[in-house]
Every structure is written in structure tokens, then in C-alpha cells.
Symmetry: C2
Subunit: 403 residues, 2 copies
């Protein structure tokens, strides 16, 4: 008889989102008329820009016409989309051939585990987007969940707190084969400076690590001196993979479109090409993102589409500003929210779950307990600014009317 | 420094499609004016039915409107699509809750490796769709490629030839944890009878195996007494997963939409639910198929859409009939093609590659050498009937004018 995969059993330790869901349902059952406002999951609320919609519709109509129908596309994506990602989003710092179009960052994080296999160690920012940890557990490269460290054995958690400006203290003992790094950060909203990323690249070179750089929130960077891509740092092409997405760029959360960049220069210790192996993984267990989604992505990466994106980003950044001011006026601590759609909030004298419960029961605001993103998240909650303005203004009102 | 994943290195043995591509390019370079007709890769050529196109367009327009925009959907898919798959395609033999919408069978075959982990053995029909083998190699459950067996160590290849009517001889020594089975078969075009599938289910029960049943070509079955789903067999819900797709059902090869069914009754040896673990895998490293693709899929599974599907299937089945008659008239052997868009052809006195080269150079027909699908494919070539009628008629002419 077939044995259960022991790596999946380990995941029982990650209970964050089911637990939030359980408490939300319990609240709604007890308060059926409450108007709950969600600042929880980072889902987008604005419609997708018109340029992309037109791209979707045209591609759909072409699929219905014998003269223009196309079937399987290249697993790595349409050439025009890869060209535009390379030129419009990376300013030519990467080549179109190094861009692999995906159905979203989360899916490629899973495939990256298959690329690297079971022989690697990983380190990551703590707190971090839970998929880095959970996909590593599924990939079988961790031990079990430990209540003592509030995390998995074998993963190197690099604390990111107000004390170190949310940039990890990189020591020889924290080295690992893969170094997951997210900037602007989910959940803290922190953005790494050019100097910080230089030190990260130098560290990876010294220890011969590969950085998995998640730039899903790069479009939210307002200050043009802050780096939007790891490839703005000299030498990064030899040590870094970068993952991005249309989800937070243009509201494609349900449409599913992203990319992963694997530079030519990136090699394993035997000198063989990481990119060649990624070609093999993606052609074997992936068949490309939906051609309709790709057409909408390509249409977005035009002057017209990018102007529409700028408006959308501006709206969410304004949401974040409104929320941050309200939080600070309430006498709480707030981080992030300047170049990211997330605020990282600490309410005095409360644990993450206490703050979550208090905001839920007293303010009818749904947030995400910071401790769910890693042990160093304790004491914080994450607020998402990706909601509608009317909800954000109502949340502002409720926060400001705190005792 | 990071070591290369040894499992990916093993895949070097699978050289079929790159080799076909290399020979095709060499031919085109030598014969730049030749009108090459592809009966090779199983890609669709007819436009997608109007019902789905309307579904795509409406969903796209909804994403562009603030009143109807939606972001992340459930990882397992839209409820209406799951309901329709359960009722329109499975006649209620499965519940909507057991249907998991995917971005295609190939992608779910990769995720199934992650579900089962490294502790399982596999057996499969030989020849078979190469993704079963290649995803198992990537999943690290095989040994290296062996030229002697023309396959991977550790995989149990179950020969399917004209001698056994393309149904494997199931013995105690061929047992394995996972049993991949495809009917109608890619590449042989063979369809398993009800009695054969009964024996397969009984065998899986006896050896406590799980059947991974690939029914991607089920819509091509003409004879209503032949089973279209493994769940038509009593007891199959306790031993089988079934994978299907909109690709060959309605030309969604580039749109990316499929499904996997995991019945409630399916358990591991500890009594725990396979479905619960699949929930965990898909929520961790997948984020749902594109919402636009799902809307087109749901629109197809209506009376209007299914009538359009029937026309399309009829067209491809007629292609297969034309090709099969031509092949038989030429004095070659032909199998399949009655309930599947593939013909499995044997030209006297030729190996697979000899037949491939002869058809390419003398007839300007591109096919797929059978040996690329497994050792028992030697001597055969696969012809796809998914092309345009005009190409099929031209292929018929060229085949009939064989010496």
C-alpha cells in the first residue's frame, strides 16, 4: 500500500491561514450584521487596466478564428512578452532569452524546489512570505516543525526587525545554498537600499550561494534611487535568480501571470548552467502560462498600459499612506507602506494574535498576525493596502477612534 | 557552492523531441522549398468553439470593471466549473468537491510527484506519454537511464504491443505503488475495454496500488459501450486518480485548463486521505488556473458548447479515419485512430527512426518515432490526426503514392 509522503505531514505546523479563516467565521457567526473590513490577504481590488483587457479580448477572438488560432506556445512564453519584460521592466539588464514567463511566482517557487532538488540548504528573511518555507518543506529539504523555534528545523531564519532596519545580519553561520530575499518585503514593507543589496550580493559571492530575489512589489517603489531589481547591483547576474509577477503590478491575481529570470552566468559548482536545467524543468512539468493572459501582459507593457499601471500603483500607495497616518496617530508603531502595499504594525503590549483579536472584535478589521510569517513576526500584524479606498477610509476612521 | 540536482542530469537520456527538432531543421535547410506536413506533435488546429470564446471575452470584460472585478480565486477552481465537470463529463460519478481544476495535465503530473514524494515505485504502459517517465525522474524516484533497457532503472515498463492488444500483462512482479494508465492511449490510440479496466482495478486493489488514469482523449471515444472514465468501474474510487484536460476536448492547448479528480475514498496505508494532502500541495505551490480560462471552460460545458465540441471531435476522428485508410492501403500496419486522434503505424522492415527518416525525406511528412515513447515503441511511428483537413488530405495522397 502507498505510504503517505512524510514531508507533507510536516506541513501541519503551518496553520496560519486556516486559523485566521476559522476565527473570522466564528466572529461572523457571533456578529452576523458586522461590517467586517479586510486588511488581511494581499488581494487586489481595482479592475485590470484597459490595455490588458483589450489584449485579453483580442487574443480570445483570435483563438476563435481558424485563420489566427494557435495551440501550444513555447513553455517559456511568447517572445514579445519576454522582450517587453526584459526591456520595459528590467531596462535591458536582462535578455529576453533569460526571462521565463510563468503562471505566477508561487508556482515557480514550487518548480524551483524541483530545480535544486534535495541537496540544498536555505536561508530566508524572518518574517517572510510563507510559500518559501512551505515549498521547501514540500521539497523535502527541511526537518520537522519545532515549537521551540516556531519554525522548521534545517531552515536558517534571518531575523528582520526594527533593530536591524529589517535587513538581516549576514554572518558566516547564516550561509546557505539558497538565500530567499524579498524587496519590497512581504510582510514588513521594508525596501532594501542599494548598499544593502550590494552587501547581499557580496555575501552570496563569498559563500557561493544563489539568491532567489522576489521583486513582486517592485512597482510600488516611489524613490527612483532605490533598486527595483537585484540586477541593478554589479555581479548579481552571477549569483541571483529574480522572480516577479503581474499580480500586484496590474491586478492579475486571478489571471495568473509572472516570470522568473535566470541569467546565463549562473552556474552550479560543476560549472554547468542553471538556466539549462531550468529549461529542462519547465519543459517537463509546465506548458506555459495561458496565451490569453500573456497577450494581456504584453499589452500592458506598452507606454499606454504602463501609464495605467502608474495610476493604479498610485492609488494603492495612497491607501498605504492613509492607513499609516491613522496607525501612527493612534499611537501604534508602523513600518513599511512607503514603497510597498503592506504596513507592519505593532500595537503596544499586544502579541500578534492579541492584536488580531482586538482589531477583529473591537474594530471589525481583519488583519494578518505577524507571527504567522515567522518567529520574528511576533508582536506585529500586517495590514494590506490593496483594498478599495472606501474601505481604507472606513478603516482609518475606526483606527483613529481607538482609545 | 550549489550542487547540480543529480535527478535532472539523469534526464539527458530523454532526447526524443530535441532530436526530432534537430532532424526537421536539417531537412528544411537541405530542402528549403519543401512543403512539410506535420503529423508529429499532438497539437490542435481547429479554432476554439464559440461558446468558450464568449466565456473568455465576458470574463475579460468583467475583470476590467470595478463592479465585477475579482482577484485570487480558490486554488481548486471555480465552483461552477467543478460542478459542470462532475456532472457533464463524469455524469455525477464524482462530486464537484473531488474535482481540482488545473492549468493542464502535464502540470498536475508534476505536482503528483510532489504529492507522493520519493518513497514510491511506479509502473506504466510501454509505450507511454513521456511526461510520466520524465516527471518521475525529476521527482527522484528512478535510477539512471539505461541504454540496455532503453529506459530508466526502477521504472516498471509494461509492454503494450499488438500481441497483447495493447493491454499490459499484469503479473505480481509488475506491481508498483503508482500505476500510470492512459486510455484512449497516447501514443498507440488503443482504448481499454470495460473488462480490461475491471482487471486493472482488481489488480490495483490486490496490490494496494494507486492508478493514475489519464483520460485526456476520452472525448474521442465513439462507441458508447467503451468506458470514458475509470470511475465507470466499480471500486475504482478506492484506487484511482483521474486526470483530464480541455486541450484535446476543445483546443485549449495554449489556454491551459485541465483537472484532476481525487475521490474521497482514496487513502494511504495509514488510512489518511490522499485528497487532504492534495489540498495541501495545490494550495502551497499552485494558485489556480487562469480565471479567464476557467470561464471559457465553464461556458463550454453547456448543451450549446458540448454540441460544438461534438462537431470538433467528429472532424478530428474523420481525419484519423482518412489517414488510417491511406496507411492500410499502402500496405502498412495501423492501430488506433478509431477512438483516438493518434495512429500507431508500422512500416514493414523499418525501425522507428528509419520510418521517420523515410517519411520525412521521401514524403515530406513529419511524424514521431515510436521508440521515443518507450522501448516497446520500436518499429512504430505515431501519426497525429489533430491537423487541418487539407493537410490530412495531402498526407493521404503522399502516403498512397508510396511504392
Amino acid at each position: 500500500m502507498v505510504h503517505r509522503n512524510p514531508d507533507i505531514a510536516k506541513l501541519a505546523g503551518s496553520y496560519l491561514f486556516p486559523e485566521i479563516h476559522r476565527r473570522k467565521l466564528a466572529f461572523l457567526q457571533a456578529n452576523p450584521t458586522a461590517k467586517l473590513i479586510s486588511l488581511g490577504i494581499g488581494d487586489t481590488s481595482l479592475p485590470i487596466p484597459p490595455a490588458s483587457i483589450q489584449g485579453f479580448v483580442e487574443a480570445s477572438q483570435q483563438l476563435g478564428d481558424a485563420a489566427t488560432y494557435t495551440g501550444y506556445g513555447a513553455e517559456k512564453g511568447h517572445a514579445i512578452l519576454r522582450e517587453r519584460i526584459a526591456h520595459k521592466l528590467f531596462n535591458g539588464l536582462v535578455n529576453a532569452d533569460e526571462v521565463y514567463v510563468s503562471d505566477g511566482a508561487k508556482c515557480d517557487l514550487g518548480r524551483l524546489q524541483i530545480l535544486f532538488g534535495r541537496g540544498v540548504t536555505i536561508a530566508l528573511q524572518d518574517p517572510a512570505y510563507p510559500v518559501y518555507v512551505d515549498s521547501a518543506v514540500l521539497g523535502g529539504i527541511t526537518g520537522g516543525y519545532s515549537r521551540t523555534i516556531a519554525g522548521y528545523e534545517g531552515i536558517r531564519y534571518l531575523p528582520c526587525t526594527p533593530n536591524n532596519g529589517f535587513f538581516p545580519t549576514l554572518t558566516d553561520s547564516s550561509k546557505a545554498d539558497l538565500l530567499y530575499f524579498c524587496s519590497p518585503n512581504n510582510p514588513t514593507g521594508a525596501v532594501a537600499t542599494r548598499e544593502q543589496l550590494k552587501s547581499l550580493v557580496a555575501y552570496a559571492k563569498k559563500h557561493r550561494s544563489i539568491i532567489v530575489f522576489d521583486s513582486a512589489y517592485a512597482p510600488y517603489i516611489q524613490d527612483k534611487t532605490l533598486p527595483r531589481s537585484i540586477y541593478e547591483i554589479e555581479g548579481a547576474r552571477e549569483v541571483a535568480i529574480e522572480i516577479g509577477s503581474f499580480s500586484k503590478l496590474a491586478g492579475f491575481t486571478g489571471v495568473r501571470l509572472g516570470w522568473t529570470v535566470i541569467p546565463q552566468e549562473l552556474t552550479f559548482d560543476d560549472g554547468s548552467s542553471v538556466k539549462t536545467d531550468w529549461d529542462r524543468v519547465t519543459t517537463t512539468i509546465f506548458n506555459g502560462a495561458s496565451n490569453i493572459a500573456q497577450a494581456g501582459g504584453a499589452a500592458l507593457l506598452t507606454d499606454e498600459g504602463l501609464a495605467q499601471v502608474a495610476e493604479m500603483i498610485n492609488y494603492y500607495n495612497s491607501n498605504a499612506r492613509i492607513l499609516k497616518e491613522a496607525v501612527l496617530k493612534a499611537g501604534w508603531e508602523a513600518f513599511g507602506g512607503d514603497h510597498a502595499p503592506y504596513l507592519w504594525v505593532r500595537i503596544p503590549q499586544m502579541t500578534s494574535w492579541q492584536a488580531f483579536e482586538w482589531l477583529l472584535n473591537d474594530k471589525h478589521l481583519l488583519t494578518t498576525p505577524g507571527v504567522g510569517f515567522g518567529p520574528s513576526g511576533e508582536g506585529f500584524i500586517r495590514m494590506s493596502a490593496l483594498g478599495k479606498r472606501s474601505d481604507v477610509l472606513e478603516a482609518e476612521f475606526r483606527i483613529q477612534n481607538s482609545e
